[in-house]
């Protein structure tokens, strides 16, 4: 049995008033005794986020390669007439997202005012579909909101700088049930369900038909002392109406989406399930991650969006683009975690085992971080560095001459276009583009290559990674 990739969805949620609750903005504000709301006032408008060329590439309205033709900085060159509706994605405004957060909340954690409570979703069929399935909780009591915020039990929520409600903690001292952590988890759930709903609506798939959901989101839902206990997947499935789907989470820092795709395809090939969805919700903690560098250099705060992805894999009908599980890259624990060691394990070795060359893959989807976000922070152009590494490896293997490195990068690569949401840039946002191209015959194969920074958790000095080949 073969696992075919039938559909992909890439969504963005514009959330400027949540940037203050990103990990870095929050900690820096506390450290400097500032109000995060003061530092992160006046961020991009929804229209600006929609017109931003990398965001248009993310939702499928612009081939990523075309970004190279748009003068830099991209934030000064928005696309005229840009739409929040994309070929395989969508951008949701913040006030609609508050409605999704409220729908995601089954414990009365979120308290929104009259104006923002209920079914405030504009122009998104996918988001509206989620609201029909969930009942909004409780009523708004102004004194309760201000009382809880004043006592430090709740975080204020804003729309255009105005207080519209709060999110409360659900335990007086358990940090896993702290208001900011709960908001982070709700944001991952709601944006993940939004991505899944978009996939279902766009592809005209019945939610009830989904058998299995794997979440690769970046959060640590948990407690009664199982920190990161997980299964956000099942809560996303529930929210999206996938009542017949079981679920589980797959974690490996930013490499998780590729593992999740491989696991889903393997379950299908083994006949355990007939179809599966891989879903990744957005990371609130990563909002404004490099914002201080941007503010210092006069760059707009570009990390004002949550990203979400969803992919539908199925055994039927038996045609179309598929995941080739004979070419899966993995990075063994004994392999050095150097850039070279990772590139060998994830690209060179799995291709060599199948008797294939590096240049035989038409396009590589590597870590596709938007360079305009990374460069001001001194983090380099991540996508470009990855493509140089692949080209250098092709030189080492005698496939191309050293002078051909720029041509290799041009042919097999693309500029980064994804927001710095960790797992979201990890190769997979190209899959929507790849599907379209494979269906029209303009692309034969793409290898998705993701890396994960295990060392950030301080349990190992290792990195990790995973890759898989998708073929027409």
């Amino acid at each position: 049995m073969t696992a075919y990739l039938r559909a992909a969805a890439n969504v963005l949620v514009h959330a400027p008033d949540l940037v203050r609750y990103g990990s870095k903005p929050w900690r820096e504000a506390l450290r400097n005794d500032q109000s995060p709301g003061d530092v992160f006032a006046d961020l991009r408008t929804f229209g600006e986020a929609v017109g931003y060329p990398p965001n248009q590439a993310f939702i499928g309205n612009l081939p990523p390669e075309n970004l190279g033709e748009i003068p830099s900085p991209w934030y000064e060159n928005p696309l005229a007439g840009a739409s929040p509706e994309g070929a395989f994605g969508e951008i949701l405004p913040q006030d609609s997202f508050y409605a999704l957060l409220e729908a995601a909340d089954q414990f009365g954690l979120l308290i929104l005012d009259e104006e923002h409570r209920g079914s405030r979703v504009m122009g998104s069929e996918s988001a509206a579909a989620l609201l029909e399935r969930e009942k909004p909780p409780g009523e708004y009591k102004q004194e309760e909101v201000s009382g809880r915020i004043g006592k430090g039990e709740a975080l204020p929520l804003f729309q255009d700088g105005e207080l519209i409600g709060c999110v409360r903690r659900d335990h007086e001292s358990d940090e896993s049930l702290d208001a900011r952590i709960l908001l982070e988890n709700l944001a991952a759930k709601a944006s993940g369900a939004y991505a899944l709903s978009h996939l279902l609506v766009k592809e005209n798939l019945a939610p009830e038909a989904i058998e299995y959901v794997i979440s690769c989101s970046e959060e640590a839902v948990g407690d009664r002392y199982n920190r990161g206990g997980g299964n956000l997947a099942k809560t996303i499935a529930e929210m999206a109406g996938c009542v017949n789907a079981a679920g589980v989470d797959v974690k490996s820092f930013c490499a998780a989406p590729v593992y999740a795709l491989v696991h889903a395809a393997a379950l299908i090939e083994a006949g355990v399930v007939g179809n599966a969805v891989v879903v990744g919700g957005g990371s609130m903690a990563k909002l404004g991650m490099k914002a201080y560098f941007h503010l210092e250099k006069g760059v707009p705060v570009l990390e004002d969006v949550l990203g979400g992805v969803a992919f539908f894999l199925t055994k039927n009908p038996e045609d179309g683009p598929r995941l080739n599980l004979e070419i899966v890259g993995r990075h063994p624990a004994g392999k050095p975690s150097t850039p070279q060691g990772l590139a060998e394990a994830l690209v060179r070795d799995p291709l060599a085992r199948a008797g294939r060359k590096i240049a035989s893959v038409d396009k590589y989807a590597v870590e596709l971080h938007n360079p305009e976000i990374m460069l001001p922070a001194g983090a380099g152009d991540v996508a470009a560095a990855n493509y140089r590494m692949l080209a250098a490896m092709a030189v080492m293997g005698g496939e191309i001459a050293r002078e051909e490195i720029p041509d290799f990068i041009e042919t097999h690569g693309m500029p980064g276009f994804a927001p710095t949401q960790g797992h979201i840039p990890a190769g997979v946002p190209f899959l929507g583009h790849a599907l379209e191209r494979m269906r029209t015959g303009s692309l034969g194969s793409t290898m998705v290559v993701a890396k994960g920074s295990l060392f950030l958790g301080r349990m190992s000095r290792q990195a990790d990674g995973a890759s898989v080949l998708m073929e027409a």
Binding site: P339, Q340, G378, G380, A391, A392, M396, R402, I405
Partner: protein, 103 residues
Amino acid sequence: MDLENQAAIKSIADEIGSENLMVVLGMPGEGLRLAVETLTTGDPSWAGPLAGVSLGLPVFHILEEKVRTRVPEELYAEKLLMMEMVLDLPQIESDLADMRAAG
């Protein structure tokens, strides 16, 4: 430069003396510039253990000509040759020259 690395280098410098220590870096670009500044004049972000501490350490990049030519050929081919193709060597040399000229 992250705080743990700053602490580690400060601790070695305290133990053996900064005159007995040199640092060989591997990163390019802005990261290189910040690391050089941190290890010579002190942490420019004033956040780490080297804030206000001018160790004045000699700092090199592993792919600078005068360093890379000292790496045994076999080891170089195994560990560094690919990175030589990945990183912009002339830029690294010129960034370091500028920083050294600026003192």
